[in-house]
């Protein structure tokens, strides 16, 4: 590893000031699981300064607010798995956190880091996208809130400008307890990159799908929604055949690549299966009343 500068930020404002001062010469350190690998193996010159945000209290923790469920960007995957609030109102996010890397990765790696590294196979992305999550970004000009979908620009590229910092993720109040399923398929069970991952959410009142959201990871340059599959489901009676068809439609919306891990064709097959299974899992999480109506 080549030498680099290091500053531990006291709070968000301190971190933003440092990021603004150093611009592209600065890198943010949260859990370090991605950054350290980058610093060791990247062919590019090392950053001028690593801004350590791991002690910024405002960016840590999970809390229910009037606006919804707020998760600080440096909350670890382990904390998400263990959170009784997450398990209660958003269990699919705990499912996703539970299959990231290995125990060691989950104990160090953070939600914000997973989103900001912005690899297409990120496991946190699909569930949050399927729940219309928003993100708070702090910058020299103050704070702004954008939909999570606008954060993702390309592989390892986000819409954040130099000097900006991801502070927290918010799932809006109206989507808490929305039935949601998450599925991941990797080449093995532990320490696996997703060949495909997916999440699906939908209300199922009166036996009909409403506000369906389907999100797919690792099959496009960024985590994407599957709008045609969503449109197919909206207003349709809840049935296994409808779930399977939504999966098949989502498979046509995916734009997977062929690489040494798997062919594009196989990834498409997996999209169809995983989307169906996400919807089945979501149905399993619908309240008893919703299930009764669905049957």
């Amino acid at each position: 590893m080549k030498p680099f500068g290091y500053v531990a930020a006291k709070d968000c404002e301190h971190a933003v000031a440092l990021l603004a001062q150093y611009g592209k010469g600065a890198r943010v350190l949260a859990g370090g699981t991605d950054l350290l690998a980058d610093l060791k193996f990247s062919p590019h010159p090392p950053p001028e300064v690593v801004v350590d945000v791991s002690r910024v209290k405002e960016m840590k923790g999970i809390s229910l607010t009037d606006a919804g469920l707020r998760i600080g960007a440096i909350t670890t995957h382990g904390e998400i798995i263990e959170s009784s609030v997450v398990q209660q109102v958003m269990p699919a996010l705990a499912d996703a956190a539970g299959v990231i890397g290995a125990h060691q990765t989950r104990n160090l790696g953070t939600l914000g880091g997973n989103l900001m590294t912005c690899v297409p196979s990120m496991d946190s992305g699909p569930t949050l996208l399927a729940l219309d999550a928003q993100v708070t970004i702090a910058g020299p000009a103050g704070r702004r809130t954008i939909p999570l979908s606008e954060l993702f620009v390309g592989p390892r590229r986000t819409s954040l400008q130099p000097g900006e910092l991801l502070v927290d993720v918010l799932v809006p109040k109206e989507n808490l307890n929305k039935p949601t399923g998450f599925q991941k398929f990797g080449l093995r069970k532990g320490q696996a990159l997703a060949l495909v991952n997916a999440a699906a959410s939908a209300w199922m009142n009166d036996g009909l799908f409403s506000e369906p959201r389907i999100a797919l990871g690792a099959v496009a340059p960024v985590v994407i929604r599957a709008p045609k599959a969503e449109a197919y489901l909206a207003g349709r009676p809840v049935s296994e055949e409808a779930m399977a068809e939504a999966g098949r439609i989502a498979a046509t919306e995916a734009k997977p690549i062929t690489d040494f891990r798997a062919s594009a064709e196989y990834r498409r097959d997996l999209v169809a299966v995983l989307v169906k299974r996400c919807l089945v899992a979501a149905l399993g999480r619908a309240t008893p009343n919703q299930k009764e109506l669905a049957s």
Partner: protein
């Protein structure tokens, strides 16, 4: 939908090199306090072989494994060993250690015979004592005998030995010969679940029955079987070296050369079938490499039992299994008369 299947595979495996000399040497020195030092050229690679060498020397000398200090792998001081390869260490190095210990013990018997007023061939070494066979109350502590050998009789008890497995070279006219000293045998059964939508194979359980001769250290034998099943699982389902067009390896690190993790490991039921081999040290043969030989075949047979497809190229990745399932469905569709 998941389908359960079971598959079985059996194997035999030779111990040591094929028809070539592959000797091991050993030196055993009994100390004045009744402990001993073993010099061996073999190296420990994590399998516990030096512990087995200590057990073999201790058994031959009638003392405890903790009384043995093993010096290994130093080519300046240790006798030659062909290597920790070919599943040969327990069988071949073990025989050299056993013979060297017995030679050192003979020197102790000569000294003890005078002390106990019997012929040396009436003695045995047991429980830290040299004792008269069938009359164990007539005995002398090994430490006392060794001390006397060093300081009174003047015959420090040191034994050395070489051992090379008994082989007969191939007759070029008939093609006949005896290429190995001995062989081991094993059968493994794999139980799997195959997901017919993704092709994913989950190995739930492997039962591994291994003839390893006499198991000198059963816990180490079980550990070897566990490790072999892990490697066999990788061979069967995950591991593949991939090259680009210029011949450069694409997946040259452990993030993309996929080996099974602990989460992928099945329950392993290790079953040791003890089978005394008269050419091995205290009847022992081998278990190292053989433990992985049947695993991949048992798994692919289990896949066939579960979903009716034969996987003929390893690893049986999810993608390959799903492709085989699809091809089978397509073939069945064709056979349905219009």
């Amino acid at each position: 939908m998941k389908h359960r299947g079971r598959g079985l595979a059996s194997m035999w495996y030779p111990v040591g090199f094929t028809g070539y000399a592959n000797p091991s040497g050993a030196v055993v020195k009994i100390n004045e306090d009744g402990t001993a030092v073993v010099l061996t050229g073999t190296v420990e690679t994590g399998q516990g072989s030096l512990g087995v060498m200590a057990q073999i020397a201790a058994e031959a000398l009638g003392i405890a494994p903790n009384d043995i200090h093993v010096v290994s792998g130093d080519t300046d001081t240790c006798p030659m060993d062909t290597g920790a390869i070919a599943s040969r260490t327990t069988y071949i190095t073990g025989n050299a250690v056993r013979l060297a210990a017995e030679r050192a013990r003979e020197m102790l018997f000569d000294v003890a015979a005078g002390m106990l007023r019997v012929k040396p061939d009436m003695l045995e070494a047991k429980d830290h004592k040299i004792q008269v066979k069938s009359f164990p109350s007539r005995n002398a502590a090994i430490g006392d005998v060794a001390y006397k050998a060093y300081n009174d009789v003047g015959t420090p008890p040191i034994g050395s030995a070489m051992w090379n497995p008994p082989m007969i070279p191939m007759d070029p006219e008939t093609g006949q010969g005896k290429p190995f000293g001995t062989y081991v045998y094993a059968t493994q059964i794999a139980e799997v679940d195959v997901d017919d939508e993704t092709g994913e194979v989950e190995v739930l359980r492997v039962t591994a029955s291994h003839d390893c001769g006499v198991a000198i250290n059963p816990m180490l034998v079980e550990g070897q079987i566990d490790g072999g099943v892990h490697m066999g699982l990788g061979f069967g389902l995950y591991e593949e070296i991939l090259f680009d067009k210029t011949g450069k390896q694409i997946n040259s690190n452990l993030t993309n050369y996929i080996i099974p993790t602990t989460l992928d490991m099945p329950d392993v039921d290790e079953d040791i079938v003890e089978n005394y081999d008269e050419t091995g040290p205290f009847g022992a043969k081998a278990v190292g490499e053989p433990s992985l030989v049947p695993t991949a075949v048992a798994i692919t047979n289990a896949i066939y039992d579960a979903v009716g497809v034969r996987i003929t190229a390893l690893p049986a990745t999810s993608e390959r299994v799903l492709a085989a399932i699809k091809a089978k469905r397509a073939a069945e569709q064709k056979q349905i008369p219009a």
